[in-house]
Amino acid sequence: MALPETSLAAPSEDGREPRYTSSEMMTVAAARALPNGTVCFVGIGIPSLAANLARHLAAPDLVLVYESGTIGARPSRPPLSIGDGELADTASSVVSVPEIFNYWLQPGRIEVGFLAAAQLDRFGNINTTVVGDYASPRVRLPGAGGASEIACCCKQVIIVMPHSRRGLVERLDFVTSVGYGSGPGDRERLGFPGGGPSMVITDLGVLRPDPGTWEMTLTEVHPGVEAAEAVAATGWELKVDPRLARTAPPTERELSTLRALDSLGW
């Protein structure tokens, strides 16, 4: 899948033409978030691209699990869908859809779940169902799929999405997948085995939950991005961590590997 288009781009260090797009930065940041050996539940798009980028860089033993029931897939060609034959052919195990959810995802065996979001609120709750009213929506989105189970059950969830006021909103039109609900205690009350969203990686920076309030807080900005930019592109009053860090720019190896994957259609 092609990377989402974006007009944002980071300047190179010497002020010449940008060396990489902000979307490439987002994908690289997502790949870095996966330590080697992690068991990772991936969907198609940026999550699959980032996970496979990680596999070609610092995390060769990443275990990829797709909701099509392919466990331990090591695709060498880019899958367009999560049900591509390449995933089954290279998997260590192929199980049914009920099994992948019941025996693998639901009990909290998966360490990292990757999610995309059309809308996200300050507590990391996600909407992928409708924009507008449910009964007569402005935009009908795909719906829950595996996302609400991933959000419920993975030890941690990493959300990857472009940073915009349309996406990071004050109030979701529909709660498809639960992050921290309305704040501390909600996940426990719901009996969810997983830990909730640990990072929201955007093309501007990284949000992490405040350990006291669980509110998603800007903890990192990508090279060339100012905190104010991220705050302005957020639909709620985004808090900024006083120890705000700056993402290391993509290395040559990260970029060349990503571009090689991308040129192959990943």
Binding site: G69, S81, G83, G85, A88, V97, P98, F101, S148
Partner: protein, 286 residues
């Protein structure tokens, strides 16, 4: 005990207007040829059930076969929206479509409960989401041992399940392998079932990872339909036609272009003809 029937006859015998029909196949083994036969036979007022409606239901919805859709993820995987589905939901074209939407886990377990002869199944998701209050056939239940609250989903018993597989033998035993999806559960949950296959063989096998046999006595009808999963695929027989999935985005965006494509490739391409040959079954993009 499965009957081997030509696809046209099998659809005529098994599917009635107003039926609930589950055509399953998770990206892999999607029964497109059977769907086209339902379209040609002008099936109406169906409740279509499927985890991922995909192009197969985009076509059926656009051709007016469905009154209702039970699903869990409606998109063109890796490409974008299902435009015919969105047009039905957003603008009521060709007529309004009632939605019952679930999570994958929930809908998969509705089939599991149906296949298991139980009235419901329990899952962890739905809780805390708007699906919990929006979606029929989801309820809250307490664990009788721990008091913990979970979601219960009602069993699904479709009138008909339609799936595609690699092989059947002459008794009607069916072998499928590769990504399995919820096909076994859909067939076992349904009152009647139709399996289209790449080929009818004297002896099944050897199969591959994820191999599963559906014995002849749980299948109502088997129809040979080589290439019948296109643009989806059958592991060991064909590859997914990713190009067609991408091309569908433009074909399906416009009502007229969609109708023209369906007329040329589905209505005229197959109507009244005997069982499609492999070449005919391979419907390329317009």
């Amino acid at each position: 005990m499965a009957e081997l029937l030509p696809l046209e006859e099998a659809v005529r015998e098994l599917v009635r207007d107003g039926d609930s029909v589950a055509m399953e196949g998770f990206s892999h083994l999607i029964p497109f040829a059977a769907a086209h036969e339902l379209i040609r036979q002008g099936c109406r007022h169906l409740t279509l059930i499927r985890l991922t409606p995909d192009l197969i239901y985009d076509q059926m919805i656009g051709m007016g076969c469905a009154d209702r859709l039970v699903f869990s993820w409606a998109g063109n995987p890796g490409v974008g929206s299902l435009h015919r589905l969105r047009d039905a939901v957003e603008h009521g074209w060709p007529h309004p479509l009632e939605l019952e939407e679930h999570t994958h886990a929930g809908l998969a377990n509705r089939y599991v409960a149906g296949a298991s002869g139980l009235p419901f199944a329990i899952v962890r998701d739905y809780l805390g989401t708007d699906l919990e209050r929006r979606t029929a056939n989801v309820a809250s239940i307490a664990c009788p041992f721990t008091g913990e609250r979970l979601a219960a989903v009602a069993a699904l018993r479709p009138d008909v399940a339609v799936v595609h597989a690699q092989q059947a033998d002459r008794e009607g035993n069916v072998l499928l392998w590769g990504i399995q999806g919820v096909q076994k559960e859909a067939v076992l949950a349904a009152r009647r079932s139709l399996v289209t296959v790449e080929e009818v063989v004297d002896e099944l096998g050897p199969g591959g990872p994820g191999g599963t046999v559906l014995p002849h006595w749980v299948v109502t009808a088997v129809s040979a339909s080589p290439g019948g999963a296109h643009p989806s695929y059958a592991a060991g027989y064909s590859s997914r036609d990713n190009h067609f999935y991408q091309a569908w985005d433009a074909i399906s965006r416009d009502r007229d272009r969609f109708l023209a494509w369906m007329r040329e490739h589905v209505l005229e391409g197959g109507a009244g003809k005997p069982q499609a040959s492999p070449e005919e079954a391979h419907l390329g993009p317009a």
